[in-house]
């Protein structure tokens, strides 16, 4: 295993699927060495800085899709109701995010893809944020047409999030209303447009270890700028509402494996880390390959207070990436 780590560290070339699987199957006794290797790779190929981001839901709930993990699907008996955020509140959320030192603010909508009303809201919202706040604006609006990709570029959206969620072979177990290939198609259009690609997924959906390795390899093939790593937080009323949460050591092994698969990407802690890893595990992940965090609340659930994450980064002597470094 040490030989594999040293090769990734020296070359910056990520592990292939077999190598990722070997890492995911490594025993608990080897976890400290694995996390150290992933941390070394992150420090060499990304540096010590951590990218901080805030996210907000512009349109919550009422989604026509059936992603089995999601409380915002209108097809399940979830308690989440449909609601829209108004533009002044959106700008205020961006200001709150910027006040934490974050350089990224991602506007998210629970939709299959944006309609004219949502694109108009985005245009108005992005303009208002850019006039009031010094922060990069990202978006996550589901599947896009080429015209919508072009329109988002013209608005000034610099990064687009569209998660593959899980590997190709397991995807039909999680979503039946659209295909993995449709998501891939949107990602290709985003990539070709010049917008940065943000693409990750959720671990703990019921996928096997082999499928977790398959997913990391497929993400590596896509080569996104950013990979958000979520851990399932089972939501009441969804088909995965009773799914067990990922065990802490498995989550840390996955973080290290994803880092070793993608040495140069921005690997971001996203939802579920509070439940899967807790405070101590959060620290271990930042010392095991993670180099970006979502601070504050998520879309429908709450996160740790931003001050706690920022204090942890200061304690670990990991500087928050400045806005000037992203421009």
């Amino acid at each position: 295993m040490r030989e594999i780590f040293e090769r990734v560290l020296a070359t910056g070339v990520g592990l292939d699927e077999a190598g990722i699987l070997e890492v995911l199957r490594s025993p608990d006794e080897e976890l400290p060495e694995l996390l150290q290797a992933a941390h070394d790779v992150r420090m060499k190929w990304c540096g010590p800085e951590v990218e901080v981001e805030g996210i907000v839901s512009l349109k919550t709930g009422g989604c026509p899709e059936d992603c089995h993990f999601c409380s915002q699907s209108g097809l399940f008996a979830s308690p989440v109701r449909s609601v829209w955020l108004d533009i002044p509140s959106l700008v205020e959320a961006a200001k709150q995010t910027a006040a934490t030192g974050a350089t990224e603010f991602c506007i998210v909508a629970a939709v299959r893809g944006p309609d004219r009303r949502l694109m108009d809201q985005m245009r108005e919202g992005v303009k208002a944020i850019r006039e009031a706040v010094d922060i990069q604006v990202a978006a996550s609006l589901g599947m896009l047409t080429q015209e919508q990709v072009d329109e988002l570029v013209e608005m000034g959206v610099h990064r687009y999030n569209h998660n593959l969620e899980t590997c190709r072979s397991f995807f039909p177990n999680v979503v039946t209303t659209h295909s993995w290939e449709e998501r891939w198609s949107t990602l290709k259009m985003v990539r070709d447009s010049g917008m940065e690609v943000c693409c990750g997924g959720i671990l703990g959906l019921g996928e096997s270890i082999e499928q977790r390795a398959e997913f990391a390899a497929q993400l590596a093939e896509l080569d996104p700028h950013e990979v958000p790593m979520n851990f399932l937080n089972p939501r009441p009323g969804t088909p995965l509402g009773d799914q067990p949460v990922v065990e802490g050591p498995d989550a840390l092994r996955a973080i290290a494996a994803f880092r070793l698969a993608m040495p140069r990407t921005i690997l971001r802690y996203a939802g579920g880390r509070e439940i899967t890893l807790g405070d101590l595990g959060t620290r271990d992940g930042l010392l095991g390959g993670i180099n970006a965090v979502i601070v504050g609340n998520y879309l429908t659930t709450l996160g740790r207070p931003a001050t706690e994450d920022l204090a942890l980064l200061a304690d670990l002597k990991m500087p928050v990436k400045a806005l000037s470094a992203t421009l």
Partner: protein, 58 residues
């Protein structure tokens, strides 16, 4: 009174799991009438509104 997470009556039933989960979730049901509330989560807080009993924030 109703549990603001699961919406079932508080009476004598155990809502310890709900109370623990609520540390990382906003309320979803009105404690007075059990209506599902409109909830908006933002990075530094949340707002939950019942059409009959008004808005709570954090």
């Amino acid at each position: 009174m109703y549990c603001d997470r699961c919406g079932f009556p508080k009476d004598n039933s155990d809502h310890g799991f709900c109370e623990a989960a609520r540390k990382l979730e906003p309320p979803r049901y009105c404690t007075h009438c059990r209506r599902r509330m409109k909830v908006q989560v933002v990075p530094a807080g949340w707002t939950a509104t019942c059409v009959e009993h008004g808005t709570v924030t954090a």
